[in-house]
Every structure is written in C-alpha cells, then in structure tokens.
C-alpha cells in the first residue's frame, strides 16, 4: 500500500506542483506578488472537498459518463485559459496595464484551481476510501509524506532549471505552459474516447517498449507534455494543431506588441 500510495500521489500531485511552479515563475517575471496563489490554493482545497462529496452523483449522471464529461470539459477550458494567458503576457518585456494584470491573475487562478481541484479530488477518493482499513492509515501517511518530498524536489529543480534555461531560450516558461495545457487537452480526448464520444479507432503505434506509460519516466512525460504511448490519429492531429495554434498566437501577439510599441515611441518622438 505504501508504494501504491506514492505512485498515486505522484500521478495526481505532480501536475499541481508543475503548473504552480510554471505560473508562479511566469507571474513573478511580471512583478506580480504571490497573493493570487494563496487565493487559488484556498479555493482549490474547498472545491476538492465539495467535488469529493458530489463525485459519486456526478459520475452517475449522463448514463454513467458524468465524471468524464466534467473532467474533459474542464481540461478543454484549461487549454483555452492558457491561450488567453499567453496572449496577455507579451513576449516583449514591458510593464502590463492594470486591466491586463488583473486578467493575467484571473487566468492563473482559474488554471491552478481547475488542475488542483480535479487532481486533488482524485487523490482524496483513494485516501478517504482506504483510511479506515486495517493499518492503512500509517502506510497512507508515509506514502503521502514521501510523495510530497519527491514532488517538492522536482518543483524546486524545475524552478531553477527554468531560470537557467531562460538565458538561452527566452520562451521556456511559455513553451512549458503550452505543452502542459496541450497535455491536459490530450487527457480530455482520452476521456471522450473512453465514453465513445470521440472515435477511438486503431492505435497509431505502441511506444510502451521505449518508455512505459506507467513507469516513473512515463508518468513524468505524461505530466509535462501529455505523453501517450498508444495514441490514435485523431489525438495526434489534435496535439499537433493545439501546439501550432498556441505558438502562432504567441508569435502574433509578440509581433502586434512590437508594432504597437514602435508606433507609440514614434508618436512620442514626433
């Protein structure tokens, strides 16, 4: 039970740590203080508990597909919120207006709350389900402690790695946010295929022999960029399109931002 708890904790908590670090680092760059994160944390804890108590009813709505619909819709929302956030944070470094700062904060809170609530509720189902079993509580506490240690280590490493890579690649935070949110989109497609809403035709390949999806590395890749060892053609096309759309958006926004700046500085000179 100890090993199982650690594995399940990593699966559910690692996305929370990763998105938190990406957003905290991104907003710090814009000079935004951490208050938004505390608000998101508090809201997520409350919503996770509410979701935990209502999940049973939700799961049995829509012909036993309610949970998939809820999770898939929220993951899709996450992708679009990420696009909105990326469009607001200009690549050209300049102070953002108050309106833009508020929008950036709101997007970050929404992203954090959705990821934390969905993953938190998942893990709470496991913890609360097995807490009263014989001698399970000790193993659960030990597993969670170990899991927190591993996740915190990865988060700290990621924070400093992003700061280091930024010297060579300025877009590292944005790129990480894009692949993370596209990964969530992949989760959504997987859920919709599972309930027969999207066609789950023949699998394109099986790369489990290279990187097992349930291995530690596989889990890490799944969290960071939505790795799927057995994707379908639809999933692959969607993955590529989502990444292309996001990078095009960044490019267009940065070009527009640059041209606006040039016009403003030219007017000032005149």
């Amino acid at each position: 039970m100890l090993i199982n708890t650690v594995i399940l904790f990593l699966r559910d908590a690692l996305p929370i740590f990763v998105i938190s670090i990406i957003l905290i680092s991104m907003l710090q760059q814009q000079g935004i203080k951490l208050r938004w994160y505390y608000l998101a944390l508090l809201t997520s804890v409350m919503l996770s508990l509410i979701l935990l108590n209502t999940m049973d009813e939700i799961a049995h709505t829509l012909d036993d597909t309610g949970r998939e619909w809820l999770y898939a819709c929220l993951y899709i929302v996450c992708y679009f919120v990420s696009l909105l956030l990326l469009s607001q944070i200009a690549i050209v470094k300049r102070p953002l207006s108050v309106r833009k700062l508020t929008l950036v904060r709101l997007c970050s809170v929404a992203l954090t709350v959705i990821v934390m609530t969905l993953n938190g509720a998942n893990f709470l189902i496991y913890i609360t389900g097995f807490w009263h079993q014989n001698n399970a509580s000790n193993a659960l506490v030990a597993g969670v402690t170990l899991g927190v240690g591993i996740c915190a280590s990865i988060a700290v490493l990621l924070y400093f790695l992003m700061a280091f890579i930024e010297r060579y690649c300025r877009l590292i935070r944005e790129a990480l946010l894009i692949v993370f949110s596209v990964g969530l989109l992949m989760k959504a497609t997987k859920l919709l295929i599972q309930i027969d809403v999207l066609p789950g035709n023949r699998l394109l390949w099986d790369s489990n022999y290279l990187i097992m999806e349930n291995s530690e590395l596989g889990q890490l890749f799944t969290v960071f960029f939505g790795y799927d060892a057995t994707p379908t053609l639809l999933q692959l096309l969607l993955y590529i399109s989502a990444i292309v759309i996001a990078f095009t958006l960044i490019f267009v926004c940065s070009t527009l931002s640059k041209s606006t700046r040039t016009i403003v500085s030219h007017k000032e000179m005149v």
Binding site: L8, D56, N208, E213
Partner: protein
C-alpha cells in the same frame, strides 16, 4: 450578447449533440464484477474489430480504479456502484487490466478473439442448403426400403 456569440454557442451545442449520438449506438455489452478486490470473471472474451461496452460493478466497500495501459483506459468505480467504459475496436490479442488501488489482487485480461469470418458463414449456409435435401432423401429411401 452579439449575434455571432449566439451562433457560436448554437454551433457548439449542435456539435456536442452530434458527438453524443455516437454513444447512443448499440454496442455489444459485457459485464465484470469486483468482489473482495478480485475481478469476476478474470478473463473476458470480446470480438475483434468491434467497439464494446464494458459495465463494471464494484461490490466492495472501498472505491477502485479500473486501469489498463494496454487498453488506454482508467476509471474510478465507487463502492456498491457500477461504471461504464467503451473499448475497442481492437485486433485479436490479450489486453491486461487491473485495479489501480489494489494492483496485486485485482487483475484481469480481456481476450480479443477473431470474429467468425464471412467466408465461414457462407460455407455453413451452403452446407445447410445442400445437406437438408440429402437428409430428407435418405429418410425417404429408408422408408421405401422398410416398406419393401
């Protein structure tokens, strides 16, 4: 709200309504039960190249998560409740699944078997067509011999 947003919302609703029609299609149904953290039956045979509906009943007092890396599926099943997932179409083979919360005990396999081919069905039909009159003739012959 602008006319464009209303039209956009309508399109989204129609899109999802069309998508959900897929789930209304009749799929062959298979059932599996979870008791004392064990799957019953532990092996389920399903036809190849067919999408099937798998209904999982959790008879335990703890939740369980149906998980399969081979099938690319995972779903939480609450205590004393049922859950539904769709699998396939799959080529013939063995696909393992397990309970994520009790991976050592809750294990099972989905065996995908080839469908009876169309050629085989045609041969069987032809055989019936030709053998039925022959059988009738032999009975008639026996009766004639018996009378004589």
């Amino acid at each position: 709200m602008s006319l464009f947003s209303v039209k956009l919302m309508q399109s989204v609703i129609v899109f999802f309504a069309l998508l959900s029609f897929a789930s209304l299609a009749n799929r062959p149904e298979f059932e599996v039960e979870l008791k004392n953290h064990l799957f019953y039956p532990a092996e389920i045979e399903i036809p190849a190249n067919t999408k099937v509906k798998l209904v999982i009943y959790n008879r335990d007092t703890t939740p369980e998560e149906f998980d399969s890396f081979d099938l690319n599926r995972e779903k939480v099943i609450f205590p004393q409740k049922k859950s539904v997932i769709f699998i396939g179409p799959l080529p013939p083979g063995r696909y393992k699944f397990f309970g994520e919360f009790n991976p050592n005990s809750a294990q099972g396999t989905i065996i995908v078997v080839p469908k009876k081919s169309v050629a085989d069905t045609n041969i069987e039909t032809l055989a019936l067509v030709y053998t039925a009159p022959l059988a009738a003739n032999s009975l008639l012959l026996k009766e004639v011999l018996h009378v004589n």
